[in-house]
Amino acid sequence: MTTHSTHVHHLSKEAGRIYVWQVPVRLTHWVNFFTIIVLSLTGYYIANPYVQVSAREAYGPYFMGHVRFVHFMAAYIFVASLLLRTYWAFWGGNQWASWRALVPFFTPEGRGIAKEAFQYYMFIQREPPTVLGHNALAGFTYGIIVFYYFIQVFTGFALLGMADPGGLWWNLTSWVFPLISSQYIRLLHHIVMWLLCAFAIHHVYSAFLVDAEEANGLMSSIFSGWKFRVDPHKIEEHKERSAKAKATKTEPLKEK
């Protein structure tokens, strides 16, 4: 049922506590989080400069210039993060960091989990599938997100390259313009930003939902790396109960 139930050696001494998200996974997650926020806000301004900068002459203010600079810097940091994550997905990372999570439908197991997850979300089945990494459906949405990232990076550098024909980015990307007009490349860059915003809402909501329902420490795991095989509160309750049970078993003996 679970994808990783055989990897018992990952279990820590504390029952059910497992180190799932390695440092590069969490680091790139948070770098992406911050850079995407910065890129979206600055990008929105660049598309629609709603801040009125007023001065008699243009030599003083440089607002758009600075916003664009921040946008480009954030973009380079974002790309560095993606490169690190790509390396980790193919060579460096553990099983939960692998690129395989993004294409779950190729294995029967993945398809099974995806079906369960879908039924859970659609209120057909009560319980979500128990997995340690991403559930197959989540993995698939991350696959789409990686595709969005790729579109954003490509279209972004294509648009940047237009300012410097013959430069690096121009040479790497300008082949696209005879196929798709630069206006549509720009449109795509804008629309995908909105799609990423929509994804962020879905992502945070689903994480909260699964965390609340499964109590597997999903929300804190992206900070700490650790997830719970079972709800820690339940472990405490279980311990207490078994302690009580022992006590009730022995106490009557004493009374007698």
């Binding site: 024909p165 630069s182 549509y184 449109l187 109590a215 279980h238």
Partner: protein
């Protein structure tokens, strides 16, 4: 044509153009071609010695705007003389000859100077229904351009219509129009798009050929790099206002009167490659952005369809007949997703109240020692 020999020196003297004006012209040409100033004398020498280069000017589906551009000069300039003296054999719109006489002149060039003349094409070529939508002297434009263009040393497609199809090609393109490059193969084609193209660039292209005996380097759309090598936005005189964040918000507002950036008024300078800000039109007096109107993106291959609406930054998105902007679409998607998940959240909360998950007990038994 009075100067059959192509002797420019003589022609200039006869028309009263001073040597000083001629050298000024040569310097300007060197600069337009992005050559170092040392090349000006070489340009002058080459032009003086250049053999006569026959040019035929063909017009198909167009508004004659490029011809207008050619004639726009208020006094005979050196550039005009160079074009005139060194070349024009046949120009459908402005030649004195008409009818059979004119066609004979054209045929003579095509047969006698085969492979040696330059065909300048203005206007798009309709291809639908056998090309019947544009005919001259009983022959279709398609047929004519394939014969005349196909036998030329090179074709210079002037204006966006000839280069890429332009306005006649705009959706739904009723005549099946396209640029010269789509119907003539095997001949070097230089595209000088623009609505109209800048005569300075046409002259410079020919001067380049006369000076170096090669055609100037071009980009992926066949446009000479000297004229289409950088974006309008990167050479624009209003660029400082763009970087400052000072934008015209409305026609005639304070920013507009002060000459601020036209980005928010739909200026297509950021997506258009052309040397308008440097060369300008009408003998260098002005150009669209200089005159206070945003760039329309007329020299891009996808003009007209992708550059409209002219007063917005981006094309509209057609959602099953309803037009939307990228922003409307994006906000719509985000709102829908938020609504969907909010609903899902409420239902999930109710579900977990009435039917809590009990699997954890079983898991505990399995995983605890």
């Amino acid at each position: 044509m009075p100067f059959e020999t192509g002797n420019l020196k003589e022609a200039l003297a006869q028309r009263g153009v001073s040597r000083r004006d001629f050298l000024k012209f040569c310097s300007a040409m060197a600069v337009t071609l992005a050559l170092p100033p040392q090349f000006a004398p070489r340009v002058a020498q080459a032009l003086e010695k250049a053999p006569r280069l026959p040019v035929v000017w063909l017009e198909y589906q167009d508004c004659a705007g490029n011809t207008e551009g050619l004639l726009r000069a208020s006094k005979p300039t050196v550039a005009e003389l160079v074009l005139d003296v060194l070349s024009l054999n046949y120009h459908e719109t402005i030649m004195a000859a008409a009818g059979h006489q004119a066609e004979a002149a054209l045929q003579e060039t095509v047969t006698k100077q085969k492979g040696k003349y330059i065909a300048v094409v203005e206007g798009s070529i309709p291809t639908k229904d056998g090309g019947v939508y544009c005919t001259i002297g009983g022959r279709t434009a398609l047929d004519l351009v394939q014969e005349i263009g196909g036998n030329a040393a090179a074709i210079i497609a002037v204006g966006t219509c000839a280069a890429y199809g332009g306005l006649p090609m705009a959706s739904p393109n009723p005549t099946g129009a396209g640029g010269v490059g789509t119907v003539v193969k095997g001949v070097p084609i230089l595209n000088l798009p623009g609505c109209p193209m800048n005569v300075q660039n046409l002259t410079a292209t020919i001067v380049h050929y006369l000076t170096f005996e090669t055609w100037p380097a071009t980009d992926q759309f066949g446009r000479p790099l000297f004229a289409y090598g950088s974006r309008i936005h990167d050479d624009c005189e209003r660029r400082a206002h763009f970087d400052a964040g000072q934008f015209v918000e409305e026609w005639g507002d304070e920013g507009h009167r002060k000459g601020w950036c036209l980005y928010k008024m739909g200026c297509k300078g950021p997506e258009t490659f052309h040397n308008c800000p440097i060369v300008r039109y009408n003998e260098g007096t002005s150009w669209p952005v200089g005159a206070g109107h945003g760039c329309a993106g007329c020299s891009e291959p996808s003009f007209w369809d992708t550059m409209t609406p002219f007063y917005r930054r981006l094309p509209k998105i057609d959602l099953l007949g309803v037009e939307a902007t990228a922003e409307q679409l994006g906000v719509g998607i985000v709102a829908t997703v938020t609504g969907a998940f909010a609903t899902h959240g409420v239902i999930s909360a109710i579900r977990s109240k009435i039917q809590p998950i009990d699997r954890h007990e079983a898991d505990l038994e399995e995983h605890l020692p």
